[in-house]
């Protein structure tokens, strides 16, 4: 019997046009927490999906589980062998009860007419929840639970299946600090019982807290597997990106032009409260805080799509009520949303049609028709100036890479000549090289007089682009930091604890 619970060797996966994985290996020992890490697009999720039976690897792959060769053709094969995957967006059924959610997937589909044993279902569910020390009425529909509770249900499902290996994909992304703590406890107790865990995360600090060993992927290739004590955060980053990259903190001096935007006592029930700040010409204002602290909701309120709110928005010294995104555009506000694929772009439409969308009204000729020639020129202008690759204006936006898609979104909004640009997670899912390019671009726009609000969870990014930083916490402004006093620690301190000063020991995660 080998010391490994799971061995995936020679794993390659080819999609039409791309080699997502190239001869990758993943070996997980019994009872260890194994971190799987790499940048976006490094192949982590493809590897997980192969493990889950969602994808089939290219021929030549070797797969051993508990020392025996294993074939996983369908998701159910993985589950039956004791491999449970907890996806970031969870795989729960909101309309079904906790008990059923824990029990589901247990019967093979040959037994369609088998009677469902509700008593057994509840018993199994209760047992699994008890092992987690988690008390909840098993007849509650899952839609009534918080995200953290739902995650527990999902872990309970894994236990009910006698999981020997649990994969957690970005499990902490929508949890509060307290909930994250609780999750760590659960992970340690699972580990004690000999269950192995593959932990996928972007948060390096968090990975060092829980993981025993690390497997690093880069561009679909295997970089190596390391013990936690061989690594430092810095070394890990170097392994992930293949070269040493740390953003430099912004040192430029902000031009202190006139005030473009002033927000006074803005409040929306259940979203945010007592928000007051101002944005000046030529300034980049960073807004950060944990996910769920109300940042995006605030931005969308200013852009007119999160209504109604209380308080005042003052643009160029004039009190303004923005009732729709259409009006926001007219007032010179641009908002680049967090999700490029679902909110930022219309993927099936051409680059031209995407770029011209917010300014179509200005492209009308005297017959009230769209001037196609002008429209194409506009698109070509931004393709060129932002260096979108490939520079093919008729291509569907969905065919571009993440970084180039983001450039199209930025181009689209620059075409409106905005005075105020709000950009939400500007480099989410973009590779490192393209990231610094976008940072440079934002600084350049500010230098030309635009007022920019950058919303980001990535602290190095916030530090790299901002002149001032507002930290939000539970829907309120926890504090504001000038770029000179701001450090990752001081920001985290405000985000987690709501106070300036030295970070406390227990929050140092």
């Amino acid at each position: 019997m080998s010391e490994y619970l799971l061995q995936m060797l020679n794993i390659s996966k080819t999609f039409p046009g791309v080699k997502a994985l190239d001869d990758v290996k993943l070996e997980v020992k019994k009872g260890e927490v194994h971190a799987l890490i790499g940048e976006n697009g490094a192949g982590k999720s493809t590897l997980i999906k192969i493990l889950a039976g969602v994808y089939q690897p290219d021929p030549g792959a070797q797969f051993f589980f508990e020392g025996k060769e294993a074939k996983i053709r369908r998701p159910i094969d993985a589950t039956m062998r004791g491999i449970s995957i907890i996806y970031q967006d969870l795989s729960l059924f909101p309309n079904l009860s906790v008990a059923e959610n824990i029990y589901i997937g247990r019967d093979s589909d040959k037994h369609s007419w088998k009677k469902v044993d509700w008593a057994l279902m509840e018993k199994t569910a209760k047992k699994a929840l008890k092992e987690l020390d988690f008390e909840i009425d098993v007849s509650t529909p899952v839609e009534k639970l918080s995200i953290a509770q739902q995650q527990m249900v999902e872990i309970a499902r894994a236990l009910a299946f006698d999981a020997k290996l649990i994969v957690m994909d970005e499990p902490t992304s929508s949890l509060s600090a307290g909930e994250v703590e609780k999750l760590y406890e659960v992970i340690f107790s699972l580990k004690k019982r000999g269950i192995s865990i593959i932990f996928v995360s972007h948060k390096l600090k968090e990975l060092f807290t829980v993981s025993d060993r690390f497997t690093v992927l880069r561009d679909g290739k295997y970089v190596g597997t390391y013990h936690a004590n061989e690594l430092t955060e810095e070394k890990l980053i170097t392994l992930m990106v293949g070269r040493k990259i740390l953003y430099e903190k912004n040192k430029e001096k902000a031009a202190s032009g006139k005030t473009l935007l002033e927000v006074r006592n803005l409040a929306k029930e259940g979203n945010f409260k007592d928000i007051s700040f101002e944005l000046r010409e030529g300034e980049v204002l960073g807004i950060t805080g944990l996910v769920g602290s109300g940042r995006t909701e605030l931005a969308q309120a200013i852009f007119g799509i999160n209504r109604p709110y209380k308080g005042d928005i003052i643009i160029n010294g004039q009190k303004t009520v923005i009732k729709s995104s259409e009006e926001a555009v007219k007032k010179g506000i641009a908002y680049i949303p967090e999700s490029r694929k679902t909110q930022g772009l219309i993927l099936r439409q051409s680059i031209i049609n995407n770029i011209s969308l917010p300014v179509l009204k200005k492209l009308k000729n005297k017959f009230l028709l769209i001037n196609r020639r002008k429209e194409i020129e506009l698109a070509e202008h931004y393709i060129q100036s932002l260096d979108v690759r490939p520079p093919l204006p008729y291509r569907a936006a969905g065919d571009l890479s993440g970084g180039n898609q983001q450039k199209v979104v930025i181009g689209k909004w620059l075409s409106t000549n905005p005075k105020i640009l709000i950009i939400d997670e500007p480099t989410n899912g973009i590779d490192i090289g393209a990231k610094s390019e976008i940072h440079k671009l934002l600084r350049g726009l500010a230098a030309n007089g635009m007022g920019i609000i950058v919303i980001s969870s990535e602290l190095p990014e916030v530090l790299a682009v901002s002149d001032r930083i507002i930290v939000m916490r539970h829907g309120r402004i926890a504090g504001e930091l000038g770029i000179h006093e701001a450090t990752q620690e001081s920001i985290m301190n405000l985000a987690l604890l709501g106070q300036k000063g030295k970070i406390r020991e227990e929050a140092q995660l």
Partner: protein, 327 residues
């Protein structure tokens, strides 16, 4: 219990209750057992079909060919009964032929939706056109009269147990059976699971296309049962008699609280939806309001119900996305 009081079924039930009270004042006939039984009997076919449609809608599908399929089965029944002997065996045969033929037609819908991935509305539109055409061609649009039916069938039609017509029993049994399937069989839970979250369903190993084929076939099965009920009720086969019924079926399911996007819907709610439509119709007749107004009422009620439901839904979504703002 508390959850039920807040549920959509409850609001439909309250509306029905209010309607009943008003109608009881307007007409003394309304609250008689005979009248109420007539309402149920007259809407049994609608009810049986609506129950099948509930499953289709829960999985996010739709079937606009139900009325056509039911008509087709009615025609097959009418034609075969001419050759069937006047013995109890005929009734047994009917209960074999009708559902079987219904399942056959339903499964074609299911296979096209699940395997060829054509949107359900388009598939069932096409099927509706095909079946309606064939029915018209075969029957020439003519009635098939009861004079050709075996007497045993006519006896069956008038049969009642505990003073309740066999047609109502068919409705009750269908409802109970479907409720049982939804609640206590694996396939039933899979229907609910897919309605709740398609992607999760696939991840936990539920065979999505199998479930789709099942719901459309089951819809066909119930169309077969509905055809028996229809033929028993009218004691004739009218090939044009059910044109447009599919939309009333969908209306009943939606009134009963099912969400057309999938995920929500109960047998109990659908029964209430059917009753609501039936009582409106009955009430208008009793109140001596021109029957032409019935459709106006039905339309208005559908619009109000779906708008109200959507506003409620949006409100609940807002509550869900709440961030704990510190006071």
């Amino acid at each position: 219990m508390k959850a039920f009081l807040k549920s959509k079924e409850m609001s439909v039930a309250v509306i029905i209750l209010l309607l009943c009270i008003i109608l009881a004042f307007i007409s003394p006939v309304f609250l008689t057992a005979d009248n109420l039984l007539d309402v149920v009997k007259g809407n049994a076919v609608l009810g049986i079909l609506a129950i099948g449609m509930t499953l289709v809608i829960i999985t996010g599908g739709i079937d606009v060919s139900v009325a056509a399929v039911t008509s087709a089965v009615c025609v097959v029944l009418g034609k075969t009964m001419m050759f069937l002997p006047d013995s109890p065996l005929t009734i047994v045969l009917i209960f074999v032929i009708a559902p079987l033929f219904g399942v056959l037609l339903g499964s074609i819908n299911g296979i096209l939706v699940a395997k060829i991935q054509i949107p359900a509305i388009v598939v069932t539109l096409g099927m509706m056109s095909i079946i309606n055409g064939l029915v018209l061609y075969i029957t020439n649009g003519q009635y098939l009269n009861s004079s050709n039916f075996p007497t045993v069938f006519l006896k069956f039609s008038n049969f009642s147990v505990f003073g309740i017509s066999i047609i109502i029993w068919l409705f009750i049994i269908t409802a109970a059976l479907t409720w049982y399937i939804l609640k206590y069989t694996l396939i039933g839970r899979e229907v609910m699971a897919i309605g709740g979250n398609k992607e999760s369903a696939v991840r936990v190993g539920i065979n999505y296309s199998k479930v789709q084929i099942f719901v459309f076939s089951y819809m066909g099965f119930l169309a077969g049962i509905a055809a028996i009920a229809q033929t028993s009720y009218t004691k004739a086969v009218d090939p044009n008699g059910m044109l447009g019924l599919e939309l009333m079926v969908i209306a009943a399911v939606v009134l009963g609280g099912a969400n057309i996007m999938g995920g929500r819907g109960t047998i109990f709610g659908t029964i209430l939806g059917v009753l609501l439509l039936g009582i409106i119709q009955n009430g208008l007749i009793l109140a001596k309001i021109d029957t032409f107004w019935q459709k106006v009422f039905t339309g208005a009620i559908i619009l109000i119900a779906v708008s109200y439901d959507h506003i409620q839904y949006k409100r609940s979504q807002k509550q869900l996305s709440k961030i704990e703002v510190e006071a």
